[in-house]
Amino acid sequence: MVDSSYEHHEYDVVIIGAGGAGLRAAIEAKRRGMNVALVTKSLLGKAHTVMAEGGIAAAMGNVQSEDNWMVHFRDTMRGGKYLNNYRMAELHAKESPDRVHELEQWGALFDRTKDGKILQRDFGGHRYARLAHVGDRTGLELIRTLQQKVVSMGVDVFMECKILKLVHDDQGRIAGCVGYWRASGEFVTFQAKAIILATGGIGKSWKFTSNSWESTGDGHAMALWAGAKLIDMECVQFHPTGMVWPLSVRGLLVTEGVRGDGGVLRNSLGERFMFNYVAPMFRDETADSEEEADKWYDDHDAGRRPPELLPRDEVARAINTEVKAGRGTPHGGVYLDIATRRTPEFIRRRLPSMYHQFMELAGVDITREAMEIGPTCHYMMGGVQVDADSETTVVPGLFAAGEVAGGMHGANRLGGNSLSDLVVFGRRAGLGAADYVEAGHAAATFNQREVDAAIEEALAPLERASGENPYDIQRDLQEMMQTNVGIIRNAAELETATKLLDEFTERVKRVSVKGGRAYNPGWNLATDLPSMISVSKCVTLGATMRKESRGGHTREDFPNPDPELAKVNMAQSSPGGNWDSPVEVVAAALLEMPADLKALLEETK
């Protein structure tokens, strides 16, 4: 029986997710006079954005005046192995400096250059020092600044509220959503003229991940079920440097800033192995000796960039190869060494939270010893397909921004381009949603049948007297995805994953949860499992279809890029609309890039 005596709210714009993209969207929609609700699964200010460490990429040219949006655009496209939505990469490169300056107008305090400008640091794949930062806690600065702005504007914030499903009107437009309060377990519906998805990533489907419990792909999945298209789902970023020991923190992120500030990678023989892994497209701009690379740190004109600062996909694959070849550390990683290269004072000042993290969790003093690190599941390049300018999806009234949206980063994201993505496209989603609402074509009815079905499905695990433990399913899913759809893939393992995911679907239908509805993490997890299964299927299907290696997607049976596949996104949809409905995939042509932008990509210097 469905209880229909739950809370109901009505808003112009409902934003699901309160990380950087959701907060920035809320600010813009509110500025446009919209009645805005911001809904988050956690408390305000705890979203995964706080985990971003190194910085926010913006071609301000404060450290190297040669930098400009065109170089940033080129770096982003090259990093993404040209699979990017070029228009998103263009808007991102052009607008991120304004978005960074705006953060200072709202109270952010970035580190400074000697002449008082915002300091910028070097990062992988960025030709010039481009990342505005605050030590190694830039994400915290971004989220706190945006959170304080949102609160001062009086946006209505709904905390610890899990959204289960989007709701349509009778013509298929988005009309709202349904969810529950975690504290009480009571259901709640939001009627909305527009919904902006800003739910972040999907990393919780892997065993070794830098992502928090929240990254269960809710937005990816809800968009798919609601009729939107997902692209590039096979492009999952494994960050090269996650902690590997102790086991309880395996996967925890170690910022790329360690390498930007002089840290190098060594194998168990002490070799600085990255010189052996410079792909042809990066040879011209990468140092070919340790001597040249070390000169670059002191004077960027004296040598080419060290190979440790290649894009993340390149570095992660190299580490994986070294470990497989038997040159790994005792715990199956490689060494990241900054202790022998920089003074303890420098390390503690530039990388305070890394110092703290290793000291307290691993008992390792990074000013004296090397860190043991290895690849960890970190970021989803793929996501909801949107129009670059307005973040509109194919479903009227549905918008997406941040990690849940696809296209901006192509097959591989550069470090620092995520925080800038959040504020550039969060703002544009807020504008896009306001434009849509003002145009007056929004939904007027609310499909109650969809609400009732979602509630019934959510309650089912509580009503089964016995069945599967949701924690067992989650653990087994993480093991399975790590084994079969990890950093290096092949046809046989992907086929195994496809079969096993069907079994997982059946297991989820037998989930049984003990206890009541009030703050019950077992039940909360049971309601996350459908999204985790849905997105895992999409990643597996995309990876099966893309028979080449490109960016974050590596196939050992197709080790090279295929020029034909550079022209298409794997676009997935699920016409059935339920979490267990079949998913279809087509190769959809990329947007045609204008000649002037193409010319920028061909310039090598």
Binding site: S42, L43, L44, G45, K46, H48, V50, M51, H101, E104, Q105, W106, G107, L109, D111, R112, D115, G116, K117, I118, V134, G135, R137, L140, R144, Q148, V151, S152, A183, S212, W213, E214, W245, P246, L247, S248, V249, L252, L253, S353, H356, Q357, E360, L361, A362, N469, Y471, D472, R475, V513, K514, G515, G516, A518, Y519, N520, P521, G522, W523, L525
Partner: protein, 259 residues
């Protein structure tokens, strides 16, 4: 490691009691790892908050053996031998098990008058590292609310909450007061409505801060000096006003270009 007994408080607003679980910690495990293992096996409905499990989000605050700690940063091998008790933060109302209602802090956050800078000059504001560093110390705050939990003014006197912002928000006010660009004057508010005078600088907040922010020495004491000066000494107040103005315009490149 040998088996450890975890005594975890379970219950809700109507009451509760300790429940014991016995399990063996693995090398390097933290308290939160054990709570997660208990959830995954014996008590799937054991309520606790957590997000990053890296000491960066401040969600998993609890009292471990009676002291406010982040569960994700407390290694089992750092605790004395014997049973480990885990209880919810005492200063906030219980929702369930280890989860408390921390909405008091969000009410206080909404009362903070916003940052108010001068218009931004072409090319952005100019500020100097030594000027931003004071505020940056306070902006390291991860809002774990353990300083609020341990502060006697509210821990022992629930009725003080409506007129007391607490250490977390004193560092927020201090940060804004010390911000090189801010032009909002919050001193009367801090003295009259935020209850700064109630703090008797016992430094309990500083001791529990997982970010090692010197809350008392670097924020509360300077804030008390400013606020008291402003109130009792009109000459000092005027002097500060003038110095503040000078400082603000010096950072505004459209008025006076930075060196």
């Amino acid at each position: 490691m040998a088996d450890v007994t975890m005594r975890v408080w379970r219950g809700d607003a109507s009451g509760g009691d300790f429940e014991s679980f016995t399990l063996a910690p693995n090398e390097g495990e933290v308290v939160l790892d054990l709570i997660h293992r208990i959830q995954a096996t014996e008590a799937p409905d054991l309520a606790c908050r957590w997000n990053c499990k890296a000491g960066k989000c401040g969600s998993c605050s609890a009292e471990i053996n009676g002291k406010p700690r982040l569960m994700c940063m407390t290694r089992m091998d750092s605790l004395p031998e014997g049973p480990v008790t885990v209880t919810p933060m005492k200063a906030f109302p219980i929702i369930r098990d280890l989860v408390t209602d921390v909405s008091f802090n969000y009410v206080q956050a909404a009362k903070v008058p916003a940052f108010l800078p001068p218009p931004m000059p072409e090319g952005g504001y100019r500020m100097f590292q030594e000027d931003v560093e004071r505020g940056q110390e306070f902006r390291k705050c991860i809002e774990c609310f353990m300083c609020q939990d341990v502060c006697h003014v509210i821990r022992d006197h629930e009725d003080n909450k409506p007129h007391y912002a607490g250490p977390r928000f004193f560092i927020r006010y201090a940060e804004l007061e010390m911000h090189p660009l801010d032009q909002n004057d919050r001193r009367d508010l801090i003295r009259e409505e935020m209850g700064l005078g109630y703090c008797n600088i016992t430094k309990c907040c500083t001791e529990v801060c997982p970010e090692h922010i010197k809350i008392t020495d670097n924020a509360i004491i300077p804030l008390k000096e400013r606020v008291v000066d402003a109130h009792y000494d009109p000459v000092a107040w005027l002097g500060r006003k003038i110095r503040r103005r000078t400082k603000t315009s010096a950072t505004d490149a459209s008025v006076q270009p930075a060196p």
